[in-house]
């Protein structure tokens, strides 16, 4: 049984999708959770995540922050430290897509995806690093199998997610001597608002390539997070756990 009683976690992009499920799973395991959301339009969704955490009898905190902005991330970590006094688990989950064939991909689509997915992971990790050094904390970065396999129409997303893997391995090497672990999870096709937006034909094509013949759920990803965040994952550092039903 995974136990996180007395721990404090910060999950970025936790207003919906995989992030929300991770936040709730961490709370179920006994930790208090700070829920990051990106902007006003996601406020109600963040409140719903908060509500679900409070129902579990855990403390929650919703924090608006633009992960692509370092100052915003530093402000967020300050708020979390002020509210909870410490931080043991950082889950860098916030991510977006802006798909297009390379021939048609705008420079702004590249920049936007890289700045939130990859730079956002750097920003939040950097902002939280000294706090995590105090607690020998655990950093869990949400990558994607697309970052390993590549994908048509997702050159920007794939590059950002591959970058997260290289970043993860570097942090693992650099901070290991301080008892901090840093690992990545690479989900495959997971049922979320992000993938529900895909055309039915694309979804069907994916399904045919997944050996388990079903899409993953946010809970499947959250389970891997729990494993890495708890003492069960103490000796795992710099690893990439693939959660894709065999797709890759």
């Amino acid at each position: 049984m995974v136990e996180l009683v007395g721990k404090v976690a910060l999950v970025t992009g936790a207003s919906r999708g995989i992030g929300r499920e991770i936040a709730i799973a961490i709370a179920k395991a006994g930790a208090d959770v700070a829920i990051n959301y990106p902007f006003e339009a996601e406020f109600e969704n963040a409140k719903e995540t908060l509500h679900q955490i409070e129902v579990l009898g855990r403390k929650g905190l919703i924090v608006e922050a633009d992960v692509s902005n370092l100052a915003s991330c530093e402000e967020m970590v300050k708020k979390v430290s002020l509210a909870f006094g410490r931080l043991e688990i950082l889950v860098n989950n916030a991510g977006i897509t802006a798909d297009n064939l390379l021939l048609r991909m705008k420079e702004s689509d590249w920049d936007k995806v890289l700045s939130i997915n990859l730079k956002g992971t750097f920003n939040c990790t950097k902002a939280a690093l000294r706090t995590l050094m105090d607690t020998k904390g655990k950093i869990i970065n949400i990558s994607s199998v697309i970052g390993i396999m590549g994908n048509v129409g997702q050159a920007n997303y794939a590059a950002s997610k591959a970058g997260i893997i290289a970043f993860t391995k570097s942090v693992a090497k650099e901070m290991g001597s301080r008892g901090i672990t840093c690992n990545a999870i690479a989900p495959g096709f997971i049922e979320t608002p992000m993938t529900q937006a895909l055309p039915e034909q694309v979804r069907a094509e994916y399904l045919s390539r997944i050996p388990l013949k079903k899409f993953g759920t946010p809970e499947d990803v959250a389970n891997a997070v729990l494993f890495l965040a708890s003492s069960l994952g103490n000796y795992i550092n710099g690893a990439v756990i693939i959660v894709d039903g065999g797709l890759s």
């Binding site: 000294r130 050094m133 650099e174 901070m175 001597s177 301080r178």
Partner: protein, 80 residues
């Protein structure tokens, strides 16, 4: 803040960050050789100095900070 006050604060920072007894820290102590700091530990201490003494220490000055005494003198020069 005089030298002794800076040294006392320095001792508590070094002792907290490197896990050595404050009484074993002197002006002559070398961070790496005597106190067991690695490069990351030294950067950690430097950042703590910046915070506690309100000074900014650029990367190019890091090689100057090798002993507790050199750190005390560096901080003092920055504060005056």
């Amino acid at each position: 803040m005089n030298d002794t006050e800076i040294l006392e604060q320095m001792k508590s920072i070094v002792s907290a960050k490197l896990g050595v007894e404050a009484s074993k820290v002197s002006m002559d102590s070398r961070f790496m050789e005597d106190l067991g700091a690695d490069s990351l530990g030294l950067v950690d201490i430097t950042m703590e100095l910046e915070e506690k003494f309100g000074v900014s220490i650029p990367d190019e000055d890091l090689p100057k900070i090798t002993t507790v005494g050199s750190a005390v003198n560096y901080v003092k020069s920055k504060m005056s």
